[in-house]
């Protein structure tokens, strides 16, 4: 609004010392700390993926030994899931935007918020230490009894790293829940909240309800491994499948920790670039909660080929199909929002188009996998690998990129180069499909995951996949250049460069330290684009 009044006073200029960043309690600065760390872990995880794809270029296991390969895919999974995907949107964009979107001055517990960044970073460093001193080879799933009794790699260190990181997740979730309940501005009723906030509320429920279970489970694995207490070891009467139950009680909902915030970003972007209110706002809001709740009822579908009982498996299979309903509600409602909207095709919207298509493929192949007969056939093949990468990369990362572009002018007050942003979005979409679609085919043909060598008849698909990964890497590298360039040479962003609705666009770019010059009062429904 009044950009001219105080052009130089904002949260970025409020202190330049290292201390003013490392001891900050401002949710916006903490969001940027997360942006920095999360990007570092993304590069690390991508580096592992690169070596994996390079190894798989040829059928023979010639680049790395199988032992090293085991460590590579494990570390790729651990770093990408626990240290990139789970914190990415909530901790970077959520941290920055949730308080602003509801008109609060900060999150309810600013010190806990800072603590959660330190826990995340500390946990990450632990994991890095484990990596430098030999890595870990159990797969990111840590299945017992291999992880607890047999693996000779640094399982215990990584467990400690993930355990510490878990506290970070819990504190973030707790902070969001309390903030959304107690800190909303006058007039910001539940049904005036942006869908981004609803999505983060649902995500926070999973953080709070799921994370403690993985924490205690990994603690038990650690106790068995280090103190030789028998808990899952079949030699001592334990049941290794019990580990899988406890592990997936968190780790299946964790997928929704990744995708729900992405859906929240998609809702904001669809509305902004269609210049229309979200169709069926309440349905989209409640579908987030439904996904969060249903997500806890389906974990057994990861265990169809374990000794899980067939009756239990059938129940889990049927419940898994249920998740398709709220997911489909979202996709239909986004489509209905775009229908007859005045759509424009700026870079963030290109990511949304990519996201919706890829998420649908990922979601529908998820239904194949929820069917027991199909799942038994393709368990531990590249079909599964392709499926979850369509959700996690095609879903979560696409929207992380889309959201980062959309709110970049707000966060830094600078405009990036739109042309290159569009080129990057298209490159990422093409590269992604070239990487992962062949994996559906090669997986269905029977190529198992987690091996560094494979029969020669699968080579064509693997060459395509590695070529795609190269394109994808170029696509991901491009934003690093033009986004950084924008920080130094970009044009100053106005308060509302997209003409979007929402409280974050009513404050200056970048926002002042306390988010608003005058505390906002909300008087209109969300996405009020009609006027």
């Amino acid at each position: 609004m009044d950009t001219a009044a105080t052009p130089h006073s904002n949260y970025l200029t409020d202190g330049y010392s290292l201390k003013s960043w490392l001891l900050t309690r401002d949710h916006k600065r903490i969001g940027l700390l997360y942006l920095f760390s999360v990007t570092a872990f993304f590069l690390l995880g991508a580096f592992f993926a690169g070596i994996i794809r390079l190894e798989l270029l040829t059928p023979a296991g010639d680049l790395v030994s199988s032992d090293i390969y085991n460590r590579l895919f494990t570390m790729h999974g651990v770093v990408m899931i626990f240290f990139f995907l789970i914190p990415s949107i909530p901790s970077v964009l959520g941290n920055f935007l949730v308080p602003i979107m509801i008109g609060a001055k900060d999150l309810a517990f600013p010190r806990l918020n800072l603590l959660s960044w330190y826990l995340y970073t500390f946990g990450g460093l632990f994991t890095l230490w484990a990596l430098v001193t030999g890595g870990v080879d159990t797969g990111w799933t840590f299945y017992t009894p291999y992880s607890s009794s047999f693996s000779n790699s640094n399982v215990a260190l990584v467990i400690v790293g993930i355990f510490i990181n878990g506290f970070s997740s819990i504190l973030t979730g707790l902070n969001f829940i309390v903030t959304i309940h107690k800190m909303r501005a006058p007039g910001m009723t539940w049904f005036r909240m942006p869908l981004f906030v609803w999505a983060h509320y649902a995500t926070s429920l999973i953080f709070v309800l799921g994370t403690p279970v993985i924490a205690i489970t990994l603690l038990m694995v650690g106790a068995e491994r280090v103190l030789h207490l028998g808990i899952f070891d079949p030699k001592l009467g334990g049941d290794p499948v019990l580990f899988q139950h406890l592990f997936w009680f968190y780790s299946h909902p964790a997928v929704y920790i990744m995708i729900l915030p992405a859906m929240g970003v998609a809702s904001e972007l669809v509305a902004a670039f269609s210049r229309k209110a979200i169709f069926g706002y309440e349905f989209v809001a409640f579908s987030s909660l439904a996904i969060a709740v249903f997500g806890f009822l389906v974990w057994g579908h990861h265990m169809f080929v374990s000794s899980e009982s067939v009756y239990s498996a059938m129940a889990f299979s049927l419940l898994s199909f249920l998740v398709a309903i709220p997911s489909a509600v979202k996709v239909f409602n986004w489509s209905a929002t775009m229908y007859k909207g005045s759509i424009s095709f700026e870079a963030p919207m290109l990511y949304v188009f990519g996201f919706i298509g890829l998420f649908m493929i990922g979601g529908l192949t998820g239904l194949f996998l929820a069917a027991i007969a199909v799942d038994v056939h393709v368990t531990d093949t590249y079909f599964v690998v392709a499926h979850f990468h369509y959700i996690m990369v095609g879903g979560a990362i696409m929207m992380y990129m889309g959201g980062l572009h959309f709110w970049w002018p707000k966060i830094f007050g600078k405009l990036y180069n739109e042309f290159w942003a569009q080129v990057a979005a298209v490159t990422i979409f093409v590269g992604f499909n070239l990487t992962f679609f062949p994996q559906f085919i090669v997986g269905y043909l029977g190529m198992p995951r987690r091996y560094h060598a494979y029969p020669p008849e699968f080579q064509l698909w693997n060459i395509l996949s590695t070529a795609g990964a190269t394109v994808l890497a170029v696509g991901y590298a491009m934003p690093a250049f033009y986004l950084l360039h924008s920080l130094f040479k970009g044009k100053r962003a106005p308060s509302n460069p997209w003409g979007a609705k929402g409280l974050e666009w009513e404050t200056t770019s970048p926002p002042p330290t306390h988010n608003f010059e005058t505390p906002p009062v909300v008087t209109e429904p969300p996405y009020n684009y009609a006027k």
Binding site: V241, F296, L297, S309, Y311
Partner: protein, 115 residues
């Protein structure tokens, strides 16, 4: 039942007052009940009730927990939101316990013998 404290609550912004002074005798009564129930659960464990030993032990433990939550933790006087948070926690605990159990109890004859 309740001695209301009368403070100027202006600084609480007209929101719910943060405290609800529970009379001390309620605390003492709850304490006595908890001690009695502890003795009762030990006594019940000494009796052969067949499969009901576990049931009785759990019912007594749940009763004690409810007493602590309602009175020592003041939930009886708290907002609906607090009730909802607690209900959610208990519900999710039951999900974890019962859905895991659904696998074990349907594994068929010789179930659970993997030793």
């Amino acid at each position: 039942m309740v001695n209301d404290v009368t403070h100027a609550d202006v600084e609480y912004g007209g929101t719910e007052r943060p405290k609800h002074l529970v009379p001390l005798r309620v605390y003492f009564a709850v304490f006595a009940a908890l001690m009695t129930l502890t003795a009762l659960t030990v006594f019940a464990a000494m009796q052969d009730l067949g499969p009901f030993n576990t049931v009785v032990a759990l019912v007594i433990a749940c009763t004690k927990a409810v007493l602590v939550v309602l009175y020592f933790m003041h939930v009886r006087y708290s907002t609906k939101l607090t009730w909802a948070v607690i209900a959610g926690g208990v519900f999710w605990l039951l999900l974890l316990l019962l859905m895991t159990l659904s696998d074990y109890i349907t594994r068929g004859p010789g179930w659970l013998h993997f030793g």
